[in-house]
Amino acid sequence: MMTYDIVIVGGGPAGLAAAVAAREAGTQSILILERDHELGGILNQCIHNGFGLHTFKEELTGPEYAYRFMKQVFDEKIEYKLNTMVMDISPDRVVTAMNKTDGMFEIKAGAVILAMGCRERPRGALNIPGYRPAGIFSAGTAQRLVNIEGYMPGREVVILGSGDIGLIMARRMTLEGAKVKVVAELLPFSGGLKRNIVQCLDDFGIPLKLSHTVVDIEGKERVSAVTIAKVGPDMKPIPGTEERYTCDTLLLSCGLIPENELSKSAGVELNPVTSGPVVNESLETSIPGVFACGNVLHVHDLVDFVSEEAKKAGENASKFVKEGEKKSDKEPIKLVATEGARYTVPCTLDTDRMDDLLTVRFRVGAVFQDSYVSVYFDDERVMHNQKRIMAPGEMEQVILQKKKLSEYPDLKTITIKIEKE
């Protein structure tokens, strides 16, 4: 059996940044396993710009951003295998993978970093009634067809869901000469970044209809029309509000689901809110030595934050390899999201293992204006930051200081909530 100190499952932005950080932290034996035929993951099909503003202070395209990390992987001679599918991860960190040249093989890993990314919610999972013709694509599949394969999925387009990929594809299809007739969003607010709504819809005069959903798909062989309707507060379509659009294409951008089938088979505990692993301050899952970062952990809106998170996962995996499993007899501090905050990453915190500063990321469940992000150490409010606007489509964060935490030796729970005053 092969052995590596760190095996990274996935060669997208998370896997690449984790690998580079682990090498910088001194781990020599690293292997990245990537299922596609090149490194870079979904960034390769994101040919628009806007990546890297936080990390590199410049605006890069997706492939350019990915290449910054790929180059480091090449320069550092970090090993990777392409066209390689990981079939199984065991709780004792034996990774089973397969490709054309090596066949099926096992690797004993000192530490594993999960970086598998996410997938799009398909039409079937949305329970949209109607026919099942060609011409219905998840936005990411359409993006791949257009930007990588060079084919147009259609000419007249309706988009359901205002996730970022859907917004980006509204612009992309328009630039390719297609007519995007409408973007319908089930929720009363968009799931995408504000800047994408402005730059991808408003600038092209594409209407965004909030609180609308698709109620019928016509066309036996290829989509011929889509009917949308307004939904009430119960999310059910309101009869009489139907609007029919003739079109040949329906794109879906209705949410991303972390791809945790491998994590599940390994026995990693998942958070039902994020569908990603439950992790501690080191981004370590419920299985010691198995770390997670990027969209497999929770869906991000900016790749810069993925890279930052993955760097931590890489460093911590490297530390785990060097120092081994550190059992603490102290009960870790629980992080709880409530009253407007939906989840936190991480979920627990051990002050002995944390860095001087710890970024806690979370999302809100609705749009909040002129509200406060409050952090409670048990019952005491220790942070109270005003925010002009918070929306589910934009990830939020608070930073915890180790110094501050040391003043609370008996702290059991840190609670994040959104308060009006």
């Binding site: 599918m85 079939m87 040249t101 997938r119 009634p129 599949t141 060079g150 084919y151 019928d216 379509p237």
Partner: protein, 485 residues
């Protein structure tokens, strides 16, 4: 050329008949309006092998159901397709309706169903811990089973083709008439076909062809059934096929594991007029969610559904299979009104229809008929050593294309290259399951298109989901055309 026999329709009935007829020295062909076998009613049903206690005593439906059920084990083995007798339960949730189970039991015994047993509440809940608390008794039929309808249909057709039957796809029979020499002329969109005998296995359209030649008309109502397919994560919520007690409209909404490990919930039963209206409706899906939960608890239909679909049952007014030669149209043999339990009955239907043709044609048996067919390899059933041996010989088996169902390039190539091979995304999907998993082809469809393009030389812009106008990506982008991006 004049065929000895032409079968209209390459669904399960037509394909089963074709396979049976391929045992004889006959020139047989199948005309199919779809681009592939299994394009109509056969592709969208419960994927169940019924035990046979539902159909009326003494009916042809009852007889062929029980016979088909008995034949299925050997057939699945010969055709190398997965089949499992997981057993079925008709579950009673109202004390006062327990009597209905006895009635079903008696009918089952009269129909010749073996091993039937009535279960009390305790035994029932022990067998299926996730049944609703109200479940108070059940009829247990151990001979009930689950099968993949695509694979059964495809395998029977493939085996028929291996034994010399011609299949013509995208060929729609339009009209037919018999000339003075007793030869049938079938006009299609692809020219005229001539034959001595015609088998009308046109599914939902079987009344149309029957009524062209028969004095006594029949009427087929498309009875729509909506279904939800759930993620494999909940595939073992129940181990047996769970039926409610039947009503006038049918066997009701069942909950069952599928042979591939998903959970299926359905069907509704909605009579419609349009023979092509396979659209699902919100009302239908909501109805399923409500009804399925009456018999099985903790059923996460809305949360765990990966796809929903609808099929049309060919419901004949008398709710009976119509099989036999039409007296006033010698050589025209009906195989009409094949609704549930049509899939189960198909091996017996094929045998019966072929028997009728043979009684008329009196052909000799072929000496070299081969009733065995090798299915597409399923590497996930292999040991690591076997798998590595295979990958060394055929590296394509080491390349996973569909990540959700773990389907390799090798399996997809086999599906395209074998007799009656796949030519579309759905063709690949039904043969290999690539694209049938939880991401519903989001990741693998561009890669499958690439393979179809490479293997069959079909330009990407022409590759379809399921034939006809169902093209996926009809034109190139500006950059793809070589122009300015």
């Amino acid at each position: 050329m004049t065929y000895d026999c032409i079968i209209i329709g390459a669904g399960v009935s037509g394909s089963a008949t074709a396979r049976e007829l391929s045992k004889y020295d006959l020139n047989v062909c199948v005309l199919e309006k779809g681009e592939d076998v299994c394009s109509g009613t056969s592709k969208a049903n419960s994927a169940i092998v019924h035990a046979g206690f539902d159909a009326a005593e003494g009916s042809l439906m009852a007889k062929l159901n029980v016979e088909g059920n008995e034949m299925m084990g050997q057939l699945a083995e010969d055709l190398d397709i997965p089949f499992e007798r997981n057993g079925s339960l008709v579950v009673c949730i109202h004390e006062e309706e327990k009597g209905g189970l006895q009635e079903l039991y008696d009918r089952g015994i009269a129909n010749g169903v073996k091993e039937l047993r009535l279960l009390d509440k305790e035994e029932l809940h022990k067998m299926e811990p996730n049944l609703a608390d109200e479940a108070c008794a059940a009829l247990y039929a151990p001979t009930g089973g689950i099968i993949c309808p695509f694979m059964l249909n495809i395998a029977m057709a493939e085996n028929a083709a291996m034994n010399g039957v011609d299949f013509f796809f995208n060929t729609e029979a339009e009209t037919l008439k018999r000339d003075e020499d007793g030869i049938w002329h079938i006009r299609t969109n692809n020219g005229e076909y001539k034959t001595k005998y015609v088998v009308n296995a046109a599914g939902i359209y079987s009344d149309v062809f029957h009524n062209m030649v028969a004095d006594k008309k029949i009427h087929i109502t498309p009875r729509r059934g909506d279904y939800c397919l759930l993620d494999k994560e909940v595939g073992n919520l129940v181990s047996k096929t769970i039926f409610p007690q039947p009503t006038k409209l049918g066997k009701g909404v069942l909950v069952s594991p599928t042979i591939h490990g998903n959970l299926i919930v359905g069907p509704t039963a909605i009579d419609i007029e349009d023979k092509e209206a396979t659209a699902t409706t919100a009302a239908g899906i909501n109805d399923l969610i409500e009804k399925a939960g009456m018999h099985v608890k903790n059923l996460p239909v809305a949360r765990k559904v990966i796809t929903s679909f609808a099929g049309l049952r060919a419901h004949e007014d008398n709710h009976e299979f119509v099989i036999g030669e039409v007296k006033e149209a010698p050589g025209f043999i009906d195989c009409a009104g094949i609704e549930s339990p049509g899939l189960t009955s198909s091996p017996a239907i094929g045998r019966m229809v072929a028997g009728i043709v043979c009684d008329l044609a009196k052909p000799a048996k072929k000496a070299n008929w081969n009733g065995k067919r090798k299915g597409i390899l399923n590497p996930s059933n292999m040991s690591v050593e076997e798998r590595n041996e295979l990958i060394k010989k055929e590296p394509a088996y080491g390349q996973i294309i569909c990540r959700c169902e773990s389907i390799s390039e090798g399996e997809i190539l086999d599906a395209i290259r074998r007799p009656l091979g796949a030519r579309s995304l759905d063709g690949v999907k039904r043969r290999t399951r690539a694209g049938m998993g939880r991401c519903q082809a989001g990741f693998c469809s561009p890669r499958v298109m690439e393979i179809i393009n490479r293997e069959l030389g079909i330009p990407i812009e022409k590759i379809t989901k399921s034939g006809g106008k169902s093209v996926i990506a009809p034109e190139r982008t500006k950059a793809g055309k070589g122009g300015e991006a």
